[in-house]
């Protein structure tokens, strides 16, 4: 494959597009599929035979606004439909070239205003299983450029200059990591893509893998060239069957087109990728546990150093990055490091994909430039809290993160700002909570998650999270004392500072952040034995006096 051939494929794709007057893109991500968008697509395709109009129905990946699924986008006019059913197919086709169906049309100007799509630039635009469509939108030009015009050091230099930081949560500078692996002594070297997304309410990586898998493959190939690796592993959760099947197809297509295998693009560079399925352990998202899992061992973390960059898979130097990190690589090489560094804040560059969930109007996937205030994401893009409820907190960073209250809504999203406020970027889950959520109960939920997902290797995480969970349950039941709260705070400190891996070290964060911002709710449970939000078993403030009077009445009788 050379640049002329790439160009030729691009032109062929373009030519095919021109044959049609309209293109009806149907979202077939997991969210919309669960509402039978596959049947909708079949119905639309069937209509094609009889309608006499020149149009093309395309299966695409996630379009973002999962709450309004199944979604469809009619190009070139740009009409967006939501909540489409199989029975709407006829009407959709009939409306091509005429007025859109009003009852199904959705207006998403506000939702997309302020978003900036880099990782998701092809999501909802291309058929994820057709490599030609990816090439048609500039795909694999970056790999070709790296292999034919740049030496590995120049590639690493570009990534370092872009300011890209790991999107898995830690925010380690990607260029620095690549440089370390490139310099590490040892052979062979490996590249691993961490697709073991396990945070509750997070589905960014799944969507990227489902809607644009070639982008991740290209990123991995570029990384392999930069660090000198010839073998890659794609570690994906088995709970993501659609992502796995699309990846399998995409790897086959990439091999067939010569972007994987031996002598890639006519150069001496060899690289291939194998898929490994995670068996459902959250801790396998931790890099050393993930490596143990690929090696066929029990997925438990080991102490670092040595870091995987020096001694990773089978004790060889290993580069391990998150799906979204790899998805950013090709655009950086294609558009230049300066372009990427032009977005975001001083120390957090580029964009970040967030999965907006919880008590929010526009549940779905958003990609925003770093530095955007939380308020804008939640109230402008997300459409705010539905049903007239009041915003209470936003949880970022999954079970390792924290809950931020209203007064932090003007915080500009960046790795450092979130950590400073007691939360973290994490992989990009963003759960909005309103006044019907009890913050103690929320903390208990996340601690329970960490407790059941702890691998059990180190004592503080194994036994400490279980004790924390018991204490939080006691508080939720209105049975705790101030002594229990002190013990809980002490345990948080021990678990945070003595645990072996990131799971244990960050497990107390949901408790610590809710204690920091919502301490009065804890005290309400302890002092007045009631739950202000009316969630916990101990009952609400209003319910208490009544019960009390009833008890008194009984005594009097």
């Amino acid at each position: 494959m050379n640049s002329e051939e790439l160009q030729q494929i691009s032109e062929t794709v373009q030519h095919q597009h021109e044959q049609f007057d309209y293109e009806v893109n149907v979202c077939m991500g997991t969210g919309c599929l669960s509402q039978h968008s596959d049947k909708l697509k079949d119905a639309l395709t069937k209509e094609a035979e009889t309608s006499g109009k020149r149009y093309h129905v395309r299966r695409t990946g996630c379009m973002g606004l999962c709450a309004a699924g199944p979604l469809a986008l009619v190009d070139p006019v740009g009409t967006r439909y939501g909540h489409l059913q199989e029975s709407d197919a006829k009407a959709v086709i009939a409306s091509l070239g005429q007025k859109p169906i009003e009852s199904r049309e959705i207006h998403l100007e506000q939702y997309f205003h302020g978003q900036r799509h880099v990782v998701l630039e092809n999501a909802g635009r291309i058929d994820p299983e057709k490599i030609d469509e990816y090439i048609g939108r500039g795909g694999y030009a970056a790999l070709l450029k790296a292999l034919t015009e740049m030496d590995p050091a120049a590639v690493i230099d570009q990534i370092a200059k872009s300011g890209l930081r790991g999107r898995g949560g830690g925010g380690y500078p990607t260029g620095l990591k690549w440089g370390t692996v490139a310099k590490a002594v040892g052979s062979p070297k490996y590249v691993i893509c961490n697709g073991d997304e396990g945070d509750p309410g997070a589905f960014m990586d799944r969507s990227v893998l489902e809607s644009d898998p070639q982008r991740v493959i290209e990123g991995m190939a570029i990384a392999a060239y930069a660090v000198g690796a010839s073998k890659g592993y794609m570690y994906v959760r088995a709970e993501y069957p659609l992502a796995v099947s699309r990846l399998t197809t995409s790897l086959r297509e990439a091999r067939r087109s010569g972007f994987l295998g031996n002598n890639i693009c006519g150069t001496p560079f060899n690289f291939d990728i194998e898929i490994r399925l995670g068996a459902g352990a959250f801790v396998c998202g931790e890099e050393t546990a993930l490596i143990a899992s690929i090696e066929g061992k029990r997925g438990t973390p080991r102490p670092r150093p040595p870091y995987p960059a020096v001694s990773g898979l089978w004790n060889c130097p290993t580069l391990i990055n998150n799906v979204e990190t790899f998805a950013n690589v090709a655009p950086i090489l294609r558009n230049g490091a300066e372009w990427f560094a032009g977005m975001g804040t001083a120390r957090s560059k580029g964009t970040k994909v967030f999965a907006l969930t919880g008590k929010i109007t526009n549940t779905g996937l958003v990609e925003i430039p770093m530095g955007m205030p939380l308020r804008e994401i939640i109230f402008s893009i997300g459409g705010g809290v539905p049903d007239g409820h009041k915003f209470k907190a936003v949880q970022t960073g999954g079970p390792s993160g924290g809950c931020l209250p209203e007064e932090h809504l003007d915080l500009n999203i960046s790795y450092d700002a979130l950590i400073g406020a007691g939360s973290m970027m994490g992989s990009g889950g963003m759960i909005v909570m309103d006044d019907t959520s009890c913050m103690v109960n929320v903390a208990r939920f996340f601690v329970e998650f960490c407790m059941t997902e702890s691998c059990g290797k180190c004592i503080p995480c194994r036994a400490g999270t279980a004790q924390m969970y018991d204490l939080l349950t006691k508080i939720c039941n209105g049975e705790a004392t101030h002594h229990d709260l002190e013990l809980l705070i002490d345990l948080c400190d021990v678990v945070k500072n003595t645990s072996l891996c990131g799971l244990g070290q960050t497990a107390p964060n949901p408790v610590l952040s809710t204690l920091r911002y919502f301490r009065d709710e804890y005290l309400e449970h302890i002092d007045n034995h009631c739950c202000p939000a009316g969630v916990c078993a101990c009952g609400t403030v209003d319910a208490k006096p009544q019960k009390h009077t009833a008890e008194l009445a009984e005594v009097e009788v």
């Binding site: 180190c458 004592i459 194994r462 021990v494 003595t498 072996l500």
Partner: protein, 237 residues
Amino acid sequence: MSTAVDVKTLIIDGMDVSARQDQTVLDVARENNIFIPTLCHLEGLSEVGACRLCLVEIKGSPKLFPACVLKVEEGMEVTTKSDRLLHYRRTILELLFAERNHVCAVCVANGNCELQSIAQSQGLTHVRLPYRNPKLPVDLSHERFAADHNRCILCTRCVRVCAEIEGAHVWDITGRGIDCRVITDLDDPWGSSTCTKCGKCVQVCPTGALFDKTKVGVPHPKYPEFLPYLNLMRDGQ
């Protein structure tokens, strides 16, 4: 004629000590009679860094490091005893005592138990946490040995000695988090497992979890010191 070995000098608890570059802080501390409590570590087995009792402070870092896997570095200043470390060690021990049913008075290892003696060394007088009192089985199916899961602290010494020294890999761990348990083969009874009856796991077990059935009611000291000797003899061949 000898191979050059890089020697490092460092400070542990204010004492200047020297070490080979491949040594861990724990090795060097023990050589110099500086006591650092450990439970999962055992000389002769691979390190897992799991019990977190050997955490030490290093000047210039807010993080704590497990001494058993921490390689020495030139000029490193290590603190093995501080109020903070003592508090963490005691809490970790409390977590262990509250996790399962550790009742010394009726334990076969009473007086010969590493958990008991480390708790004493750290001045642990009481447990602040509620006891979880889980219902756990006792496996008496083996002709010579018994496994009492109530006393297991999941240090994985049995797993490692069986895999690394005996080469049988009969022991392993099942479950996740608080539900973890050591098992023989695929959770078969110990008696009908592929156990070679060598008894190494019993000798390395720090508590009364694995014991010799014939030692019930009589003192049951354990002798894990055979391991370094065994390794030395094997390396010599």
